[in-house]
């Protein structure tokens, strides 16, 4: 885990962190995150994969049969440590005017 050191984060990653912090303890799925952040699947998934590799993201599969007629979805949420770190990063990026929040309750 690299929580202790400052790292450079792209505006797209900041948007995704903002969306994941929207309901921090809830599980999110890819299509909804794509809609919230306006990121195409080709951009969204590589960021999710990198966050998961850094162990900042928890992943899980929907229970089979949750929704009839479609396959179980992959779900994502930030780990508790990552949430604190993500809030700091968002605040810092906003202070540096590097990034502007898109959602009201980030």
């Amino acid at each position: 885990m690299n929580m202790g050191r400052r790292i450079r984060i792209s505006p797209q990653t900041l948007s995704l962190l903002e969306a994941l912090l929207h309901k921090p303890t809830a599980w999110h799925h890819g299509y909804a995150l794509s809609q919230q952040t306006n990121l195409a699947s080709g951009t969204l998934y590589p960021i999710l994969m990198r966050l998961e590799k850094l162990r900042w993201l928890e992943t899980s599969w929907e229970q089979p049969g949750t929704a009839a007629g479609r396959p179980p979805r992959h779900l994502y949420r930030l780990t508790s440590e990552a949430r604190t770190w993500a809030r700091e990063e968002l605040a810092d990026a906003q202070k540096r005017k590097f990034w502007k929040p898109a959602l009201n309750n980030a």
């Binding site: 790292i7 699947s41 998934y45 479609r70 979805r73 992959h74």
Partner: protein
């Protein structure tokens, strides 16, 4: 309950998504499934297509990552191996067995040691060495002949060395010694009648004594009379060579030359001489003799000597033929038919002599041109005098010339390099140049990589560094590349090498001089479109660009390492 037919995007999109998941690399397939599971959430055809395109981009990215990482895995381990997941970064070992690497390298070395390949590599090194120009003193074959000549003052060897020397004093001293020992080599004086051969700004004709020696040795040769006329026409050799060509307005100097009885007499002697010999065959025999007796089979020597050989001035011959044509026109107008016949006969005789003894394509071309011109006018004149037998003989000769006329006779002359044959030679030259450079670069890499791989084959993976990683990559690829380059070099040059070696054999009559010259110059020529690669400016630009790209690459890596980015 009414059922609605599924929309095309609902019908085909899941199939495409399933196909994407199926071909997704196994170690990250979960992410492919995650992407595919979201597809039903896309409501419209547009969003479905956008989602699928994103999935294809992801798939491509994952495959590239997978392919790159597979390069770094040890042989025999798969991506899913637990051991592979935790293998140290530089632990890569060569995938090719050591015995195969060594076998391939030995095969490359065997090909590179072949005399033809050594020869072409030597020629390339002469061509691209830092020494500007064509300098036989730098060639190992010439150095060897020079060394032999210190203990063996063989006249043939001295004669060849005199033709290979770039120092005028040395040339003359060597040829004098050779001629004194063997007077049959007196023709050397003709080959060295305008020195230095490669510098038109400071050339001088041979001395009166040498010229007298040459004329005494071969008094009936028309070429020597042409040489005498040439020294009168171009004393310091600064006048444009085409000054005598017909249809160009004659300058006062040209008029003076035409009226000069000495020049007219020399040209008349040349046109009526019993034979015409520019000593090309003697030159060829000399090259063959020395090559065979002293075991120096270097086509570059033959190429240099034959390319630097003394040639007659085509414009001098053409100019005098024009003077004669003008003279005949005025004789015919004055009704002096017998004199006109005599003058045309002079032209015809000379054309027949060149046609018989001339060795260069341009000589044959000129012989046909002058001969056809004279024969066409001479035959009706004979008819008018009732000499029908002579007229029919001339018509027979004329038809023979027309039948033998080769429209491509000048195809070997470099000015016509755009012709197809020249282009095929040039493309062979390009392949040889590229393969030669590839071999020169790849062979050292192969040796270094093999050395590192053999020396550190027992080093544990955790102790391996970047040098081991790159050495293992090179050990896998460089032996194949060096073998491919060596084979390409051999296969491309072999037909030309055969022509050269056949030509250099004593007694060979099957290989023409022009074929030899074309074959021998193949390593030195390039197609017009890529000729810039032999330009030093291009080398500078190429090296600077390569170093610039390397610098940017390393800076980029440094920045990436200093900052983690997500």
């Amino acid at each position: 309950m009414p059922t609605t037919a599924p929309k095309p995007n609902q019908q085909f999109a899941p199939r495409i998504a399933r196909a994407i998941v199926r071909i997704w690399p196994a170690q990250s397939r979960e992410w492919g499934q995650a992407f595919a599971a979201e597809l039903p959430a896309a409501q419209t055809a547009g969003t479905t297509v956008t989602w699928l395109i994103g999935g294809l981009m992801l798939l491509l990215r994952e495959w590239l990552k997978h392919a790159w990482r597979s390069l770094g895995r040890p042989v025999g381990s798969t991506a899913s191996d637990a051991s592979a997941a935790f293998t140290p970064r530089y632990s890569r070992t060569p995938r090719m067995p050591l015995w195969l690497m060594l076998t391939l390298t030995l095969c490359s070395i065997a090909i590179l040691l072949h005399p033809e390949v050594r020869q072409v590599l030597r020629n390339l090194s002469y061509e691209y060495s830092s020494e500007p120009g064509w300098n036989p003193d730098q060639w190992s074959s010439v150095k060897r002949l020079r060394k032999i000549s210190k203990s063996n003052r063989d006249p043939q060897l001295l004669a060849l060395l005199s033709l290979l020397s770039k120092n005028v004093d040395e040339q003359l001293a060597l040829s004098d010694e050779a001629i004194n020992k063997d007077p049959s080599l007196t023709w050397l004086d003709y080959q060295q009648s305008l020195l230095p051969a490669n510098s038109s700004s400071a050339q001088t004709y041979l001395s009166k004594e040498r010229f007298a020696r040459l004329q005494q040795w071969d008094p009936n040769n028309g070429v020597l009379h042409l040489l005498a006329a040439e020294t009168l026409a171009y004393p310091p050799r600064v006048e444009p060579l085409d000054m005598l060509i017909r249809r160009k307005s004659k300058t006062s100097r040209e008029k003076a030359l035409i009226d000069n009885p000495q020049w007219a007499s020399a040209m008349h002697a040349a046109f009526t001489a019993p034979h015409y010999d520019s000593y090309v065959l003697q030159l060829v025999e000399l090259i063959r003799n020395v090559s065979s007796r002293f075991s120096v089979q270097d086509p570059e020597i033959g190429l240099y000597v034959l390319s630097m050989r003394r040639i007659v001035h085509i414009d001098l011959l053409r100019g005098y033929a024009d003077v004669l044509t003008d003279r005949v026109a005025s004789l015919e107008a004055a009704g002096k038919t017998n004199e006109a016949i005599a003058t045309y006969s002079e032209m015809l005789h000379f054309a027949q002599q060149i046609s018989l003894d001339g060795k260069a394509p341009f000589e044959q071309y000129l012989a046909q041109q002058i001969g056809e011109e004279a024969a066409t006018r001479l035959a009706p004149l004979y008819d008018s005098r009732g000499r029908s037998e002579e007229a029919s003989l001339i018509r027979f000769q004329l038809e023979k010339w027309k039948a033998e006329r080769d429209p491509k006779i000048l195809r070997y002359v470099p000015l016509h390099y755009r012709w197809s044959q020249w282009n095929s030679l040039a493309w062979s030259g390009l392949i040889i140049t590229v393969a030669g450079f590839a071999v020169s670069l790849i062979m050292p890499v192969t040796f270094i990589a093999l050395f590192i791989v053999v020396r550190r084959r027992k080093t544990p993976p955790e102790l391996r560094g970047p040098a081991d990683f790159w050495a293992s990559l090179c050990a896998d690829s460089a032996p194949w590349l060096s073998l491919a380059s060596s084979v390409l070099l051999y296969v491309t040059y072999h037909p030309y090498a055969r022509i050269c070696s056949a030509f250099l054999k004593e007694g060979d009559t099957s290989t023409g001089i022009e074929s030899f010259l074309s074959a021998a110059m193949v390593p030195a020529i390039l197609p017009d479109d890529v000729g810039f690669i032999s330009d030093p400016y291009f080398h500078w630009v190429g090296i600077t660009t390569a170093l610039g790209v390397l610098l940017v690459f390393f800076l980029w890596r440094m920045i990436l390492r200093s900052k983690h980015s997500v």
